[in-house]
């Protein structure tokens, strides 16, 4: 057992652990390797925990086991039972408790070292940093959880014009307490003041942010927690903590950025919102109704389709206007190469002249066998994973069945809304030939990919190739 407890062995185990984290993380970036990547990272974590348990002089085993048992008892069922739709708030919660742990450890360290007496400067700074960030992360994440879980209202909550001064005040209090401790203050009140002020800060900053921006905020807080873990690592001189924390900090920042971009939001705007600035909240563009549409991105559309068994392309006048037929054909080929069945549903009056879609698709060399007439394909939609509507509007409008007042009432339509999900490619929310609104776009199973059809489809092709 002795060599096992050699610090060098433990350090080596730490190196193995973080190497597994990194390797696992690399796996997580690709859909095919993601599951395995997550497992590998988990193994790395197990090794890190074991290595720590080996540390010479470890004691308090009962308490440790108690803590672990408690955590497991709470964490496992929560993770198992949460509904798929509630995942984001669950992640927020898990992230929050991580931050909470960091803050608690920092507090205890303060107490144990009697206010960092005799510790090098960097230890106190790192620990205080960890305390602040951990506390912000804990409380911020909890607010985010509350909003997503609809315990708190999802809309921005502010104290109006007082928001900015309030935030500033909290920042100043935190800073003051921190500086006082670093300068040698040993009163625990300072530490508690710091924790409370940063907790309030976390709440005050996240409350004014709208529900739509929450995923970005959670990702940001996630990166913060990572940084606080790294700081703890510095203070405790623990490589595993430093590496793992920093990796999360860095990758989390990039990820936050990517997520914000994908949602067409900028991080400064979101955070400014939290600080009472004028960051406008994300909302569906156009449409005078208060119904909301779900946007999607080319890469999501690509992934969704590449994991489908059957995709039905529904071309319409917009495909003709965009002259997207060649790009569409290319997309279909990429999908077929991935083993997806692709059909084209040709509505009798899609486009602006009889046979409009035929002419275009033939030009793009789409095999005749893949073109399906309306009657033939309508039964297929229920077995279709993704219906990709490219610049078609009226011919997919359920109002033709349901709304006797509609000018298209009585026209047969393609029942795309029977398929498992619908992706609609068009430039905005404007109407088709018949000039009527399309309920399909507000269906929870529908997501919109806005933009010129040719450009959108080309992007999807690129994403498919990158998979």
């Amino acid at each position: 057992m002795s060599w096992l407890q050699d610090p060098a062995t433990i350090q080596c185990l730490y190196i193995v652990a973080f190497a597994l984290f990194i390797y696992g993380l690399m796996g997580l970036t690709g859909p095919r390797t993601a599951v395995r990547g997550n497992l590998i990272a988990a193994v790395g974590m197990a090794i890190a925990v074991l290595a720590t348990a080996l540390t010479p002089g470890m004691g308090n085993w009962w308490l440790i086991l108690l803590g672990i048992a408690l955590g497991t008892a709470v964490g496992v069922p929560a993770a198992r039972k949460v509904k798929m739709t509630a995942m984001p708030q669950m992640v927020a919660l898990f992230n929050g408790v991580g931050g909470g742990a960091v803050a608690l450890v920092a507090w205890v360290e303060f107490r144990q070292s009697n206010g960092f007496t005799g510790e090098p400067l960097y230890v106190s700074i790192a620990t205080l940093f960890a305390a602040v960030v951990g506390s912000v992360s804990f409380w911020g994440s909890n607010v985010a959880f509350g909003k997503l879980q609809e315990i708190l209202p999802g809309r921005p909550i502010t104290v109006g014009r007082m928001q900015q001064p309030l935030n500033l005040l909290l920042v100043l209090i935190t800073l003051f307490c921190g500086v006082a401790v670093v300068a040698g203050g040993t009163s625990e009140l300072l530490m508690i003041g710091l924790l409370v002020a940063s907790a309030l800060l976390g709440v005050a900053v996240v409350l004014p942010i709208g529900g739509a921006d929450m995923p970005v905020v959670i990702s940001l807080l996630n990166a913060f927690t990572g940084l606080s873990a790294a700081a703890t690592g510095i203070a405790l001189n623990n490589t595993a903590l430093i590496v793992a924390g920093m990796i999360v900090g860095a990758s989390g920042s990039i990820l936050t950025n990517l997520m914000a971009k994908a949602m067409n939001r900028s991080i400064p705007a979101i955070v400014a919102g939290g600080f009472g600035g004028d960051g406008t909240t994300a909302s569906a563009s156009g449409g005078p109704t208060d119904k909301t549409v779900r946007r999607t991105s080319a890469s999501d559309a690509a992934i969704q389709m590449s994991y489908a068994r059957q995709v039905v392309v529904v071309p319409g006048y917009g495909m003709a206007v965009a002259q997207a037929q060649h790009a569409v054909r290319e997309m279909a080929k990429e999908l077929e190469a991935k083993g997806v069945n692709v059909y084209y549903a040709i509505h009798p009056v899609a486009g602006r002249m009889p046979g409009h879609m035929n002419v275009l698709l033939a030009e793009a060399d789409v095999p005749y066998e893949q073109l399906k007439e309306m009657d033939e394909i309508n039964g297929e939609f229920a077995r279709t994973d993704v219906a990709l509507v490219i610049g078609a509007n009226d011919v997919t409008n359920p109002a033709a069945h349901t709304d006797p007042g509609s000018p298209i009432y009585g026209m047969p339509i393609l029942n795309v809304n029977e398929s498992r999900s619908v992706i609609v490619l068009k430039r905005g929310m404007s109407h088709g030939f018949a000039g009527v609104d399309n309920e399909l776009y507000y269906d929870p199973r529908t997501s919109m990919l806005f933009g010129d059809a040719k450009k959108s489809v080309s992007q999807v092709v690129e994403e498919l190739r990158a998979l």
Binding site: V321, P348, M353, G355, V359, E363, P412
Partner: protein
């Protein structure tokens, strides 16, 4: 003998000269039978479309006198002779034309296919569209056939021939189809219409848009007639534009009026020798000054073709599409094998041009 209670649909043989279409095709006969209607076909009705009587019989029709049926479906308007053979109260369906006097005296319900409103619900009955598609397709082929040159560009050991330039004036259903077909064959296509919103549609079939700066938006998606000044200006600008094209296909119509003159004699003189004008408005007087409706003439070394009844040139599919239109209308008029005319229905009301006094 439940069957005898079904009402019967009669399909006469078309009598108009050159009319090779027929109002119902065997495929549609089968569907009508399935829907509980009897079909009586005049022997030889499908002859022009090369569909023999036994194909009809196989589909469930009986050969016999169609004029005795409760419903008579035709393509062209009936001749006075034919009108005499109609029983009072018969439902007559077809392109009945503007002259419905004779019909109304015959005391029949006349449903004119060309009067069906162009609303979304009625698209499956829209015979104007279906026949225009055929006409547009054939017009592009007619141009290719009469042109002394190739449509497509061809680089050969004996030199390169440039692609033909095809201009379509009037980008309605027929015009768009002509544009698409000519482009498929490799021609460089350009479209023009007075309705500016059509520009996007012209581009959507891969053609360029000729912008002359004259707009005339009428009602119901049709064009209105132009004022005299507008017309003069249009013709002047078209005169200039037309010269550069190898094939000019004209489809400009304004409902119920003589077709506007778009290609003057002067334009024709200025066109390159060997070029072609295909005038689809021949029936309503022609869009080209030099057109001789129903003939192909050469003037100033330019061939001018003004076919009458172009859809009859592709009788099987033209008939098939027409028959499907008729079938859709019948489904509206007949309920469970019985005639049920619901004049509160927008389509029924609009399509009915004469009504039996009841």
């Amino acid at each position: 003998m439940a069957e005898t209670q079904n009402i019967a649909v009669g399909v006469p043989r078309e009598s108009a000269p050159g009319e090779r279409r027929v109002a119902l095709v065997p495929k549609v006969v089968g569907r009508l039978r399935a829907a509980g209607l009897d079909v009586v076909v005049e022997p030889g009705a499908g002859g022009g479309a090369l569909m023999s009587d036994w194909l009809y019989e196989e589909a469930g029709a009986t050969l016999g006198d169609p004029w005795a049926c409760e419903i008579v479906v035709k393509v062209a308007a009936p001749t006075p002779d034919e009108i005499h053979r109609l029983k009072p109260g018969t439902v007559l369906i077809g392109f009945l034309g503007t002259d419905v006097e004779a019909l109304s005296t015959a005391d029949v319900h006349g449903f004119a296919m060309e009067a069906i409103p162009r609303i979304s619900r009625a698209q499956s009955m829209d015979a104007l569209s279906s026949q225009s598609s055929v006409a547009g397709y054939l017009a592009a082929l007619l141009g290719a056939q009469h042109l002394t040159r190739f449509y497509p560009m061809l680089t050969t050991a004996a030199g390169t021939v440039p692609p033909a330039k095809v201009l379509v004036l009037g980008a309605g259903v027929a015009g768009l189809q002509a544009l698409a077909t000519a482009r498929r064959l490799g021609a460089q296509t350009t479209g023009y219409d007075v309705r500016p919103e059509v520009a996007e549609q012209v581009r959507s079939v891969g053609a360029k848009w000729l912008d002359l700066g004259i707009e005339a938006i009428g009602e119901g998606g049709y064009a209105r007639a132009l004022t005299d000044e507008e017309r003069a200006e249009q013709v002047r600008r078209l005169n200039e534009a037309v010269i550069g094209y190898d094939v000019v296909i004209t489809t400009a119509q304004v409902p119920g009026r003589k077709a506007p003159v778009l290609v003057t004699g002067d334009s024709v003189t200025a066109m390159r020798a060997g070029s072609v004008v295909v005038d689809l408005a021949g029936e309503s007087g022609g869009n080209c000054e030099l057109s001789v409706p129903g003939e192909a003439v050469v003037r100033h070394d330019v061939t001018i073709v003004a076919p009458l009844n172009l859809p009859a040139g592709m009788p099987e599919h033209a008939s098939e599409l027409y028959a499907r239109n008729v079938q859709a209308l019948l489904e509206l008029l007949v309920d469970q094998g019985k005639l049920r005319l619901d004049f509160s229905d927008e389509i029924v009301a609009a399509a009915c041009v004469t009504r039996k006094e009841s």
